[in-house]
Assembly symmetry: C2
């Protein structure tokens, strides 16, 4: 979007664990998919556990400044058992999402050809979750009193604004309108979280008036998890808050063949800041460095990146190559991370 058609300045943040391995395959496929007249300029940033242990920093200001000038960011995975839980997540991953105002966290769930779902061979799964990315319980607001004592009290404050909800809801309506089924489901818990929930519902209903051809629906988050395993065909586009979106998209990934296939885009629709593309999965330290990670989620995230930058044909080519690869997986035996990347890159190039 913000990129000129003929060059891409890409920041690459491999991160921790399997991040390095899967990002390498993503870049391989990106290079194969890009039109010959588009120059790709990549800069790699070594952020994550290594930097943290060396310097105590998670995201130096100088790096944040450099990233700001990029057209997009490709991220592998963040998190390592050697770092206390939350330090890298909050100090790096969420800091990037918040600093670059990635308010549309886009997570498609589609059962690819030949992919086994835990729901069986007849499951119909083809929906997109539009997860709000800059508000809700993720703002980091809250604290502790009498910390470490038997009288400790800890709070978490979920912040929700009409401004923040309206822009992501409008984006979701537009996405629903562009799809054949034109259906948008709001997921929240407005019978318990009445303050935030009623605001979400009010804004949703207001924006709905601008999209009369979109069918709307509301589900409490608990009911949404039921339908996701009993009637996934019910969903077309879902819009929800940051925390519910986190939960629902992992569940969505699980029913659509696993977290190894789930792509995501942290989108700043205005293009004011670079958008960031990353697999939904984590750093999986248990299998890191062994060539066992499935790079498909990263490769599909690269397709989202291409689409976001206006290279629609290249995006479709990557998706088609992944589909073709998936369809043959049952007969292709166990392949390493780079073998899968090579196979998909070859299909894209050929």
């Amino acid at each position: 979007m913000s990129a000129s058609a003929n060059s891409i300045r890409l920041a690459v943040v491999p991160g921790d664990g399997i991040g390095q391995e899967v990002v390498a395959e993503g870049l391989k496929v990106l290079a194969a998919a890009l039109p010959a007249d588009v120059a790709l300029e990549t800069a790699e940033y070594d952020l994550g556990a290594r930097l943290y242990h060396r310097t105590g920093e998670t995201l130096p200001d100088s790096v944040l400044d450099e990233l700001r000038g990029k057209d997009a960011i490709l991220l592998g995975a963040i998190g390592d058992p050697s770092v206390p839980s939350g330090v890298l997540e909050r100090g790096l991953l969420l800091k990037l999402r918040f600093a670059f105002d990635h308010h549309v966290n886009l997570r498609p769930a589609k059962l690819g050809p030949g992919v086994a779902s835990p729901l069986g061979p007849d499951a119909q799964i083809d929906f997109v979750v539009v997860r709000e990315g800059t508000e809700g319980p993720y703002v980091g607001n809250g604290g502790t009193l009498r910390t470490g004592t038997p009288h400790e009290v800890a709070t978490e404050v979920s912040l929700n604004t009409a401004f923040g909800i309206e822009r992501v809801v409008r984006d979701a309506f537009a996405r629903a309108q562009a799809r054949p089924r034109k259906k948008l489901t709001l997921v929240h818990k407005n019978n318990v979280l009445v303050h935030a929930g009623h605001l979400w519902s009010r804004v949703f209903n207001q924006v709905a008036a601008e999209f009369p051809d979109v069918t709307t629906d509301y589900l409490h988050v608990d009911a949404a998890t039921i339908f996701m395993v009993t009637q996934p065909e019910r969903f077309d586009v879902i819009v929800t808050d940051n925390l519910f979106g986190d939960i629902l998209t992992d569940l969505a990934a699980a029913i659509a063949g696993g977290i190894g296939l789930a792509a995501s885009g942290n989108i700043n629709p205005s293009g004011e800041f670079p958008s960031m593309f990353e697999p939904v999965h984590g750093s999986a330290p248990d299998i890191a460095g062994q060539g066992k990670a499935d790079p498909t989620a990263t490769i599909l995230s690269v397709a989202m990146l291409l689409e976001h930058l206006g290279h629609t044909d290249a995006a479709r080519a990557v998706e088609a190559a992944v589909d073709a690869d998936l369809a043959e997986r049952s007969s292709s035996g166990t392949r390493s991370t780079s073998e899968i990347g090579d196979a998909i890159a070859k299909r894209v190039a050929g």
Copy 2:
């Protein structure tokens, strides 16, 4: 627990929608299961949408006072589309849970004999969720600023105390210790909700030291939803906060054969206040009054009620009758709510 062995003073709150129908069957089975020398004294309270429309009240103080003197409460379902979302949930259901300090919200998930799971015939599902019931994002703390304007801000405050976490975590450890597999999984999101999450983890690890024979595990809530559909056999006992427990138990119900079978107990372990037993499902206004509702979840909640009051044999008899009924369902055709209740009551009595 608080009841003397020879009499039960039971408050019955049928509530809205299908609540009336399913509670009637629960009472039928309760009467059949109770030992002959136990006197059952029931008092019905007409709470829910009807009372609200008539008087504007959700839970009059006088009723709350009467309920306080009971040994237990059997509740059907709360909620009606004619009442704004949240009014009855917060003003009645949650008010009862909070007023009577139901801090252990117990929700078993077990795939009954012959019951079809969306995960297929080989799914192994036999776990219990211990959901905290009196804290977290359910406290109702929060509010709105510039309400109804494009500049509205809405907050929800999750409150978590070491005191509140410790008691429910200890209860969950004891339950895990009493089960053959002795495994307890803490579910939270301590990499993002760091204040509350670290408090949960700290208290969990402290209490764990008292239960060295219990295997412990931690999962982020998003990962927990994945395992619930890919490896449900991984779970034995889960302990989690109020909101994550709400979400996970609906998902657990879905994989274990549906919300029509999911029972729950809102337990006040000290017996200071009456505990409350209710199906996990809602009021299902779309099928209310048609004899279509499955009363099994309520009947299994009655078994939990019996167990809580020390009538263990009667509880086991109800569970066995339900299992026997479930095992024959594929051949018993479509039955009405009361036909299912009759069949189970007959098995219990015979």
